[in-house]
C-alpha cells in the first residue's frame, strides 16, 4: 500500500508533538447506571454462571454478562464486541483483569437475551466467539503471554497451549462445579510475565539445554558484564576465545554443570540463544493464590518437572491439568483453594491423589532458602 501520512512531519519530528497526556480517564466510559451509583453498591449476586447482578442503595440494578475471549484478537472481533455493546448496552463494554469481556445491562430480560445471543455466536471453525461464564467457583480465563506469536525468549507457545487447556476444561468455564475458583495461568518462559507464580495451576515454558555461544559476534552485540551478572548461578564468566582464523575475541564461557537453563543471559545478550525443539517443554506448578481469604497469599510450587512440547494440541499437558483439576474437585472442601487443599492433606497426598510422579527435580536446591522447603519434622503420611 502506498504511504499515507497521518500529518506527522519527519523533517520536524518535535513539531506539534503531544506527550504525557496519559490514558483517557476511566469515568468517561462509564455506563450511566455505573456513573450514577458509583461507590453506592449494596450487594451482589451471581444469577447464573456468567451473569452477575449488583444492587445499589438507590435500588438500581446492573446485570453483568461475562464472556471468554482469546485475549489475542483482531479488530474485526473488537468491532463485533462494539456491535453487541451498541445493540444491548448503549455502546458500553469493559474488559476484566483476566481478559474476559463484560457487557452491562439494566434488566434481567435483556441480560438473558444477551447471554443467549453471545452463546450462539460462533467462528467458522465452530468455536464459540463469546462463551458466557467465568464467574464463581469455576475455571475462568487463563492469563497468558506472547509465546511464538511475538516474543524471542519463549520455550513454548502461549496462545496454543491456552486454547488446548480451555478446550479441555470448557464446561467448567460456564459452570460452578469447583470447591473454589481455579485460576490457571501460563507463561512461555520463566520471566513469568503474568501470574504463574501465584496461580492455582500454572503452565510454564522451560528449557533443558545450556545456551549456544556465538563467539564471533558476542563482543560486538553484547555488553559482556551484563551477561555475566544476568546469571543466578554464577555459571558465566568472561573469557577470551580463539576463532578458527587465529583471531582472539572477547567472549564468555559457561559452566554447563552450573547452568539451569533460565535463559536470563539470552535476554541480555543476543549471542547466547538456547531454545531447542526437543529440549524445550513445560513445567506445571500448583497451589498459588493472591487473595487474603482465610489463608495468606501463596506461591505456586512445581509439581511436574517436564512435559514435552507437542504442538498443536499438547495432549499430555491437557491430560495432566485434567488430572489435577479432577482430584481437587472430588477431594477439596468448599471454599478451599487448590493450595490450601494440598497443604491440608499434605503434598505427599497431593501427588498420590493427582497421580503425579515425584522426582528429584521438585526438591528445591536454590541457595539457603531451599533448606526451609525440606521436611524438618516426623509428621508425614505413608
Amino acid at each position: 500500500m502506498a504511504f499515507i501520512s497521518a500529518g506527522y512531519d519527519p523533517k520536524h519530528p518535535m513539531q506539534d508533538r503531544i506527550t504525557d497526556i496519559g490514558p483517557r480517564k476511566y469515568d468517561e466510559f462509564y455506563p450511566p447506571v455505573i456513573a450514577k451509583n458509583k461507590g453506592k453498591w449494596l450487594y451482589h449476586e451471581i444469577i447464573e454462571p456468567g451473569m452477575l447482578m449488583h444492587k445499589a442503595e438507590s435500588g438500581d440494578e446492573v446485570y453483568t454478562v461475562r464472556a471468554g475471549t482469546a485475549r489475542l484478537c483482531s479488530v474485526t472481533y473488537i468491532r463485533e464486541i462494539c456491535d453487541i455493546a451498541d445493540k444491548y448496552c448503549g455502546g458500553h463494554v469493559r474488559w476484566t483483569t483476566r481478559n474476559n469481556v463484560e457487557f452491562m445491562v439494566e434488566d434481567l430480560e435483556t441480560a438473558k437475551a444477551l447471554k443467549e445471543d453471545l452463546n450462539n455466536r460462533k467462528f467458522d471453525g465452530g468455536s464459540h466467539k463469546f462463551p458466557v461464564g467465568g464467574t464463581g467457583a469455576g475455571i475462568t480465563n487463563i492469563v497468558h503471554t506472547q509465546g511464538w506469536v511475538h516474543c524471542h525468549t519463549p520455550a513454548t507457545d502461549a496462545s496454543g497451549t491456552v486454547k488446548v487447556v480451555m478446550d479441555d476444561l470448557f464446561e467448567e468455564f460456564g459452570a460452578h462445579n469447583m470447591p473454589a475458583p481455579i485460576r490457571i495461568s501460563m507463561a512461555c518462559c520463566l520471566n513469568m510475565c503474568g501470574a504463574v507464580h501465584c496461580s492455582d495451576i500454572a503452565i510454564l515454558g522451560y528449557h533443558r539445554k545450556p545456551p549456544i555461544i556465538d563467539h564471533e559476534y558476542l563482543d560486538n552485540l553484547c555488553e559482556i558484564p551484563l551477561a555475566v551478572a544476568a546469571c543466578p548461578m554464577g555459571a558465566i564468566r568472561p573469557s577470551k576465545h580463539e576463532m578458527p582464523d587465529g583471531k582472539t575475541v572477547k567472549s564468555v564461557a559457561i559452566k554447563n554443570e552450573r547452568c539451569m537453563f533460565c535463559g536470563n543471559c539470552y535476554t541480555m545478550c543476543p549471542s547466547l540463544p538456547l531454545s531447542d525443539k526437543e529440549g524445550d517443554g513445560l513445567v506445571i506448578m500448583a497451589g498459588g493464590k493472591i487473595s487474603n481469604r482465610i489463608s495468606n497469599p501463596k506461591f505456586s510450587k512445581v509439581v511436574v518437572a517436564f512435559i514435552p512440547n507437542e504442538p498443536p494440541r499438547w495432549p499430555t499437558l491437557s491430560k495432566v491439568i485434567r488430572q489435577i483439576v479432577d482430584a481437587y474437585r472430588t477431594d477439596a472442601r468448599k471454599y478451599e483453594r487448590l493450595g490450601a487443599w494440598a497443604e491440608r492433606i499434605g503434598w505427599e497426598r497431593f501427588f498420590e491423589k493427582c497421580g503425579l510422579e515425584f522426582s528429584e527435580h521438585l526438591i528445591d536446591d536454590f541457595r539457603d532458602p531451599a533448606y526451609y522447603t525440606w521436611r524438618q519434622t516426623t509428621n508425614f503420611k505413608w
Binding site: 519530528p13 518535535m14 560486538n220 552485540l221 553484547c222 555488553e223 558484564p225 535476554t267 541480555m268
Partner: protein, 105 residues
C-alpha cells in the same frame, strides 16, 4: 544484516539501525544517524554525552546507567531527552556506536 553507505564509508547495521561493531564507529556515523534521531545540529552538549558513553563503554564494557550518565555529564534526564529525542538508549547509545540495549525494553 544490512550495509549502509554514507560519505564513502560503509557501515554494517541491524534492523534498528545500531552499528554491528563498535570499532566501525567514526564521526561520519554521527552525521549519518542524527537525522533519523531527530537531531538538527550537533552541539558540544551532544558531543559531551557521546564522548562519555564511549569512554565508559571502552572502560567498563557496558553502557552507563541513566543516573551515572546524568551525574557525570551534569545533564538531567529531561535535558538528555531534549538533546536526544529518542532518549539515552535508542538515541545517544546508537549515535555513540554502542551495542543495542537488551533486556525487557
Amino acid at each position: 544484516m544490512a550495509t549502509v553507505e554514507f560519505q564513502g564509508i560503509s557501515f554494517d547495521i541491524d534492523e534498528d539501525g545500531f552499528l554491528q561493531r563498535f570499532e566501525d564507529w567514526c564521526p561520519e556515523w554521527v552525521e549519518y544517524v542524527k537525522e533519523s534521531e531527530g537531531i538538527k545540529d550537533l552541539t558540544d552538549e551532544h558531543q559531551k554525552v557521546l564522548d562519555f558513553l564511549q569512554d565508559y563503554y571502552k572502560k567498563n564494557g557496558i553502557a552507563p546507567m541513566v543516573r551515572i550518565l546524568s551525574k557525570v555529564t551534569g545533564f538531567k534526564l529531561k535535558h538528555i531527552y531534549e538533546l536526544f529525542p529518542s532518549g539515552p538508549g535508542k538515541g545517544a547509545c546508537k549515535m555513540a556506536g554502542l551495542p543495542k540495549p537488551t533486556g525487557c525494553v
